[in-house]
C-alpha cells in the first residue's frame, strides 16, 4: 500500500506528439482513482507511465517514498490488469497467477497457498488447472484479477478491464472489483471511458481531455460542479444541456427568446453558456420556459424528452410516473441547478 505522487509528469512520444501535458496530482494511500476521458485523450499513456511500460519524458513519479522514474516495471511492486487480460496462453491458471511470485523467489508451498487463496476469493478454484483458452471471457477476467492480487502489490493499475465483457457481467464485475479493492485497501488507478464505471467506482475522478486534466474531484463534485463545459457534457447521461445566452441583470436572456430569471453568474456580463442537467428540471404549468417536445424516449425508469428551448436543442428527463407527450409544455428551474460557463474557454463561472 502506498501513496502515489505525480509531479509535472509529461509525455512526448518519439514522433513529437505530446500525449500528456505536465500534470501533477497525488493519490492518497488506499484510494481508487478513476481516469476517464474520450478515446485518445491519454489515459492509457498516463497509466502505462505509472506502470513503467512507457518512459516518462519529464517530471517525477513516486510510489510510496520512492521515485520510480528509472525503476523497471517488475521492481515497482505494482500489478496491472489489461483490457484483453494478457494471460500467458501456455500456462495454467495457477501458473499464470503464480508466475510473478516465482520470480521473486518465494517457496513453492507459499506460492501455492497464495494462489489457492486468491482462487477462492475469485471463485476460480475449479479452474486452476485449465489453460486460458479453456476459459470464458469473464473467467479470464477473473484470472487477470487473481494474477494482480496474489502479488499483494502497492498499486493496482487497471486499463479498461471490463470493456470486453457483456453489459450484465460488466456490472457484476464492477461491483466485485470495487468490493475487492475496499477489502484489500490497495491504492488503485482505474482507466475507463465509461462514465457510469467512473461515477460508481471512484473515490476520486480525474477527467482528461486531449492530454490535459480538465477536473479532479469526487464523483459528487464532478457531477455537481463540473469545471468546464467539457466535463459537463462528458459526465452524466444524458449529458447536461448547454445553452447560449447573455447576462441581463439578475437573469440570462437565452438566444432565441426566453429568459432565465433569478439566476445569473456573479460578476460576469455579456455572453455566457448556461448548463442545466436534464434531470434538474421540473414540469410546471406556471413555469416560465416554453419547451417544444419533438420526441419522447422511453427508458424504463424514466422518460427522456428531446426538443427545443427558444430554438436551441434541449432535453428533459422525467420520472416514469409523469405524463410525457410531444407538443409545447412549460418548465420551471431551480436557480441552484443552473451552471454558468464562459463562452471562450468553457470554464465554470
Amino acid at each position: 500500500m502506498a501513496k502515489v505522487t505525480l509531479d509535472r509528469v509529461r509525455k512526448v512520444y518519439p514522433n513529437g506528439f505530446e500525449a500528456l501535458y505536465p500534470c501533477s496530482f497525488d493519490i492518497p494511500d488506499g484510494e481508487l482513482i478513476v481516469l476517464v476521458g474520450p478515446s485518445g485523450c491519454g489515459k492509457s499513456t498516463l497509466l502505462r507511465m505509472i506502470a513503467g511500460l512507457e518512459e516518462i519524458t519529464e517530471g517525477e513519479l513516486s510510489i510510496g517514498d520512492r521515485v520510480v522514474n528509472d525503476i523497471d516495471p517488475a521492481n515497482r511492486n505494482i500489478a496491472m490488469v489489461f483490457q484483453n487480460y494478457a494471460l500467458y496462453p501456455h500456462m495454467t491458471v495457477a501458473n499464470n497467477m503464480g508466475y510473478g511470485l516465482r520470480n521473486r523467489g518465494l517457496p513453492k508451498s507459499e506460492i501455492a497457498a497464495k494462489v489457492r487463496e486468491a482462487g477462492e476469493m475469485l471463485n476460480l478454484t475449479e479452474l486452476l488447472d485449465r489453460r486460458p483458452s479453456q476459459l470464458s471471457g469473464g473467467q479470464r477476467q477473473r484470472v487477470a484479477m487473481g494474477r494482480a492480487i496474489v502479488r499483494s502489490p502497492d498499486l493496482f493499475l487497471f486499463d479498461e478491464p471490463l470493456s470486453n465483457l457483456d453489459a450484465k457481467l460488466r456490472n457484476q464485475m464492477r461491483v466485485e472489483i470495487r468490493a475487492l479493492q475496499r477489502r484489500l485497501k490497495t491504492t488503485s488507478v482505474y482507466v475507463t471511458h465509461d462514465q457510469v464505471e467512473a461515477m460508481t467506482m471512484a473515490d476520486r475522478i480525474i477527467v482528461l481531455n486531449a492530454g490535459r486534466i480538465e477536473q479532479m474531484g469526487s464523483p459528487a463534485e464532478i457531477y455537481g460542479a463540473p469545471a468546464s463545459t467539457f466535463v459537463a457534457s462528458f459526465m452524466g447521461a444524458p449529458p447536461m444541456n448547454l445553452l447560449k445566452g447573455t447576462v441581463n441583470g439578475s437573469g440570462v436572456l437565452l438566444d432565441g427568446g426566453p429568459t432565465i430569471t433569478r439566476a445569473a453568474p456573479v460578476g460576469h456580463t455579456g455572453p455566457v453558456t448556461v448548463g442545466i442537467r436534464p434531470e434538474d428540471i421540473e414540469l410546471s404549468d406556471d413555469g416560465d420556459l416554453p419547451f417544444d417536445v419533438d420526441i419522447v424516449e422511453e427508458l424504463g425508469a424514466n422518460r427522456l424528452m428531446h426538443g427545443h428551448l427558444g430554438g436551441q436543442p434541449f432535453s428533459v428527463s422525467v420520472n416514469k410516473d409523469m405524463h410525457a407527450a410531444t407538443g409545447q409544455i412549460k418548465l420551471a428551474l431551480k436557480p441552484a441547478a443552473v451552471h454558468f460557463f464562459d463562452t471562450e474557454e468553457g470554464r465554470r463561472l
Binding site: P14, F82, A86, Y88, H90, S133, R147
Partner: protein, 293 residues
Amino acid sequence: MKRTAFSNPWLPILLLVPQLSIIAVFFYWPAGYAIQSSFYLQDPFGFGSTFVGLENYTDLASSTNYLDSLKFTVLFTIIVTFLSLGIALLLAVKADKVLRGARTYRTLLMWVYAIAPPVAGLMGVMLFDQSRGNLTQLFRSLGWDYTLGVNYWDTAIAMISVSVWKQIPVNFIFFLSGLQAIPRSVREAALIDNPSGMRRFWDITFPLLAPTGFFLLIINITYALFDTFGIIDTIVKGEPGNNPMTLVYRVFVDGFRGGDLGGSSAQSVVLMVLVLVLTIVQFRFLERRIHYT
C-alpha cells in the same frame, strides 16, 4: 470445411487429373522404379540386370563408406539445424527490438535467401579456397593450416558454414513474424512479472514461439538432409575423395559416378523411408503438443 456438391461425379476427377498426373509422372513412377531397381544388380554397361533380392540393402549395411556418410549426415543435420535455427532466432530477437531502420535491416538479412544454392556454394568455395580464400588466409594468420577438399573436417566446416548461412534468412523471417505475433500486452504483463530479460525470454517468448520453432525444425532438417545438395556439389565438385558426404549426395555419386544404379536405388529407398518417418513424427506426435489455442 465446406462441402461443394458436383452434379456430375466425373467433373471433380477431371479437374484433379492434371495434378494427379504430375504427381504420378514425377513422383510415383520414379519412386516405384527406384524401389524396383533396388532389388536388381545393374550391368554397368547397360546390358540388362539381375535380380539379387535384398543384397543391395545388406551391402549398404556393411559398407563403411555408407555408414560413414550416414554418421556424417546425422552430425551435419544436427549442426546445421541447430546453428541456423539458433542464429536466426538470435537475429530475430534483436531485429524485433530495433525501432529505427527496422525494415532496411530485415531486407538486408533477407537478401541471402535470394541466392541460389550452387551460387552460395561457389561463394563458400571462394571464401574457403586454398590459396586465395579470405577465410583461409585468416585461419593461416591464426596459425591454422586450413585445407579445403583435402582435410575431411576442413571440408565439413565449409559445408556446414555455407549451409547454415544460406538457411538463416528463412528461419529469421519466420521467427520474426512469430515474435511479432505475440501480443504486446502479454509481453508487458511479463515485464511486470519478471525483471530478468533472459528469464522472460525462456519463460514466455520461447514457449510462445514453439509452434513456429517446431515447424522450422522440420523444414530445417529437410533442408539439411536434401536441399544442401547444390552447396555440397559445388564444394566437393563430384570428386568425393576423402571428403565428407551426405546421404543424398552419395546417392548421386554412387549412382552416376560409380555406375551402381541398384545400390543407389536402395539408398534412395532408405531416404524415402526416412522422409516418411519424419512426416509421421511431425503430424502425429509433436504438433499436437505445442498448440495453445
